[in-house]
Amino acid sequence: MGEETKIKILREVRKDFLQNQLEEGARFDERGLNDWRAVRVDKGVLDSAEGSALAEIGGTKVLAAVKFDIMTPFADRPEEGVFMTGAEFVPFASPVFEPGPPSEESIELARVVDRGIRSAEVIDVKNFFIEEGKVLGLFIDLWVLDQRGNMMDTAALAACGALLDAKMPKVEDGAIIRNESAGPLEMKYKPLTTSFIKVGKNFLMDPSIEEEHAQDMAITLGTVEGKVSSIQKSGASSITRDEVLALTDIAFEKSDELRKYL
């Protein structure tokens, strides 16, 4: 039996079990519905990147790296730098991850984290202008090393940690002088996400891998200090207006808890 098939069967068994437990307000690991698992962020773990952080939420591990390169600006924005976010589900992180081209889920993860940073203009790409036809490009790579549930919030936390750790590169004669910095990268906010899954009628935060297997749908709320900066509803089920707003209130409070680790 393949891993996918096993998980599909497990999903049905666990869903039943989890639903019954949730009726009594309990989770597999005895957490409250809106509690984070253990959180840890190590900044500056790589010398090869201008910024880096290894974030961990309940065993899920994501390494984020920030690198700068010289690039040609987009034709419609000749005075702005560019930034790109990529994600890799490293195959050893989960028995169901397969090597090969990026999966739908890894593209979604990169794009949701990217939007949270981009829409709040956390980074001013005008600071990345060098000279006509030449700008700095900032790459954020999100490397999922261990998938124990809630990759999204772990990835957003790692990305934020790596950006806070990042130094602007020194540029001379239109080229980057590696190993020399021109001061810290300026950041307007600390963008983070808080994700919830719906199991039956209940919503719960920071799902473990076992809980994710039982989910009907999921919602990720990206926040900067006091504002929503991105939303992603996923999974084949629906959510009401009132539920979204109630979760937004929780996300504001819970993302502030996470910011303390940065």
Partner: protein, 245 residues
Amino acid sequence: MDKPELFKDGKRIDGRTPKELRPLKIEAGVLEEASGSAYVEWGGNKVVAGVYGPRECIPKHGADPYKALLKVRYTMAPFCSKSEHGRSGPNRRSREISKVLREAFEPVVMLNQFPKTQIDVYVEVLQAEGGTRVSALTAAAVALADAGIPMKEMVSGVAVGKLDGQLVVDLGKDEDNYGESDVPMAITSKGKELVLLQMDGLLTREELARNLDEGIEACEKVYELQAQALRKSYESAHERGKLRL
């Protein structure tokens, strides 16, 4: 960049003596989800290996009725080098390295015990500073053992070579780039047989002999640290799943 002076007054560019290894840290069981895992920090190299299996062979028609398939995948993250951002995924170099690594383990992993299955070994280079394939091999060997996969012997690797006329052990990045010869190698722990051997550059027969002897000696030191890492992971099982880069 001009070629730097690699050997001067008995010392190498980073201050090491010819037979001195860079600092080497090995940890077993750093991941929760993988069946077996290891982290190797060797000089400026940072490498994580994870193993799954023996598990069902996919696609099924690729299965061998008499033994397990060993699949090894070595990749470098696009942020692993101090120079520009690379491309993700395999390329010609990483596919060749994946092949020679697989063939280094095939002689020792007891594949005939698990017919019709596959064993997956994934190695990700998070930071590179010369000698990534032997760092990857060293990590993969510990991850295989950590997964409880039966092996006849342990496998340990090192790169030896020649720079500015001097034979040395454990080449760093500049030594690899500007040296006269690079010999990545790996041996089995008991039989001392070579399971990985590559070479480029120019060496006399005598130099090759000395390189191999010094390489075998260095591999024995690497083996000690691999064994220590595995012992430690059993002694402190509550530490499992912790990764500190």
